[in-house]
Symmetry: C2
Amino acid sequence: MQLLLPEVKELLENKDFDSLKALLSESEPVDIASLIEELPISLQVVLFNLLDLETSYEVFEHLDPRDEIEILKLLDENRAVKILNEMAPDERADLFEQLPEEDAKHFLAFMEAEEVKDVKELVKYPPETAGGIMTTEFAWVPDSVTTGDAIDFLRKQEVDFDFYQVYVLNKRKQLLGIIDLKDIIVSPPSTPIKKIMDKIPSVPLNMDQEKVSNLISKYDLPSIPVVDKNKSLHGIVTVDDVIDVIEDEYTEDAYKFGAAGKPPEDYLSTSTLNIAKSRIVWLIVLLLASFGSGFVIQSFSTVLQKMVTLAIFIPLLLGCAGNAGIQAASVVIRGLATAEIKLSHIWRVVRKEFLIGILVGIGLGIVASIRAFAGQRALMLGLTVGLSMTAAITVATTLGGLLPIVFKKLGFDPALTSGPLVTTIMDITSLLIYFSVAVKIMQ
Amino acid sequence: MQLLLPEVKELLENKDFDSLKALLSESEPVDIASLIEELPISLQVVLFNLLDLETSYEVFEHLDPRDEIEILKLLDENRAVKILNEMAPDERADLFEQLPEEDAKHFLAFMEAEEVKDVKELVKYPPETAGGIMTTEFAWVPDSVTTGDAIDFLRKQEVDFDFYQVYVLNKRKQLLGIIDLKDIIVSPPSTPIKKIMDKIPSVPLNMDQEKVSNLISKYDLPSIPVVDKNKSLHGIVTVDDVIDVIEDEYTEDAYKFGAAGKPPEDYLSTSTLNIAKSRIVWLIVLLLASFGSGFVIQSFSTVLQKMVTLAIFIPLLLGCAGNAGIQAASVVIRGLATAEIKLSHIWRVVRKEFLIGILVGIGLGIVASIRAFAGQRALMLGLTVGLSMTAAITVATTLGGLLPIVFKKLGFDPALTSGPLVTTIMDITSLLIYFSVAVKIMQ
């Protein structure tokens, strides 16, 4: 049975809680969470209170932090504290970072000591670092045991989280190695753990999340341990955290390529004024840069005065060159992001884009000159438009391919080569080409 | 010790194979693979032959399919067949799909029967489906055993791949459930498997890879089983396959937003002519569309003739409106992709973008009119430029926010709202606004 918003709303309004409970018991926590997010806050809490405790933990973790905070405040305090005690440590730390200080203090006073310690440790680390995204739930065994002892040791810990790998620590809690659960099982019970454990790369607490995620996906690891300067194990970052990091990084790249500023925490709930502020910065910079294109036209205004028909083809030429530049830039930015294109490929890329530019430029040049000739019956104009188109597109494609690599070489993010930046530069360049060709040919 | 290209090249050229072997034995397979990809093919094979068999398997799987094929052809046949027998089934199937038919037949003749069967099964499925990305290596136990028997059963299978979850199958190999390895270990050995196994969603062989990857990341699964119509288990898709799928999907989105056609298998090795062909299609369509902007200017050419200074601000106005449109489109496309924006939010988004457009438009309008007034000492011109700028940016922002949602509603990919599409539409719209305002004010 599917969980449908109108149906659930109706049951809630009719206070038909028994049918609702039956419906909820058949649904996945993540689907219940999606549904709750669509409800108004008053109904959110009613629905949430209908869940059994175990399910409510899982549903809660799938909510947006915004909804988590609102629900937490309206819940029965006892239940709220239970939920906070049960949450995955990394999710809980994210929540506390966004909770108003007063509320945070209030809840911490009621939570279990162990969990309070966890929260206090995790909120210390900046959110975009290994420490900020790690969880403190991991399975471990001492380095002195055999595989048989290890199974007993793990059984006694009564862990309530999933784990697939076990970390091997010495007496000072320093990380010595890792062992797959599978290897513990398939080895004879008397095998010393030290003999079958593997070495594993670890990352420091302050490593940037993007680097951590690249390591995990490069080496195909299910998780990576996070250690302090003394090599003590503090937590682990798991492969599903990586998927979130990849999503975040791509969103940042997409915003950069659109010159749209930094992504807000949540688009719909961020104030319009704040979004407008973050967008106008780039637009003003680009507007000032595009004064350049005004100057070019101004300095050729006598030519334009003699032949106003030249103006007809300005948007067409600038549009095409901008488009070709955006194409090349988006291809090369993506290539750099997936490491398909490396810095050492710079000249191969430039040569390739230059050739693509010539081919594409000739094609578009022919179409544009036919249009100019057919519309205006002017051979010279057709020739001017066609030649400038070919030249402008060649420059645009080459520049679109070159700029991201240059940005990366200089230590900037290649995605800063935004579409708007490319089109603005190309506007000026294309106008210069157009009028220079026009002057030459008209003479 | 780090693996550095110039050093390795020197050792290869001096035939100092002992130092090279020592160096390689200290390096990670994935790093050796990256290095091999930078070498010319003749040296690739020499280096590859220096690796011990076990390492060579791992290195090989990390190579690009292009390099895999070249190396395979030049290797000693015995070694080549060994590598093919050892590869992960999903990676091997990808390789065979790209191998020329003759070579494929040749290698299949020497491979082990089991592996040949695997290849033949896997290449049947289209590459972008669950069947195409799944691996056939998974751990399973019969539904009739206890946890203690299960451990013995797994030990006897002597599996050489990593696994964290065990599938429970009945006598007809139908999937009944799943059990975490951890739960097998921590439960008393006499527990019947059936009692502690969990239900798990499965996907059909022909499900699109994007849907499979969404399921895995939505439900935070380490893997998902792939079944046929009879619910028989054929393979599993794991979370690290998901990362590859997500990367592929991002690349497709980035290409779409750049109007750059379909991403080629490999940018650097795809012929320039083919890339040019895939790019010119969109450019020609957009060029034809931008004839519209030519017609607008043409129909206002008497106005322009009277006042050539109007032309100075055309690129500036069109540029800014295009940029504002690209900003809004990239934000909304990303919001739709992460499901932060849903189809039901259409009017909230449009209202928000409309307001952002007015705010940003007024800001840019003021700057642009100051420039127009200061540069040309013409009050009327300043007013025309400022007002048109505000209006054009408001339209551009609203349109940039609206188009992706409309595309999605119509069943198209929102990323088809490319930057070039937005700028081309805005060119025509902005020119219409500009000249209409000019005519009104100049009168």
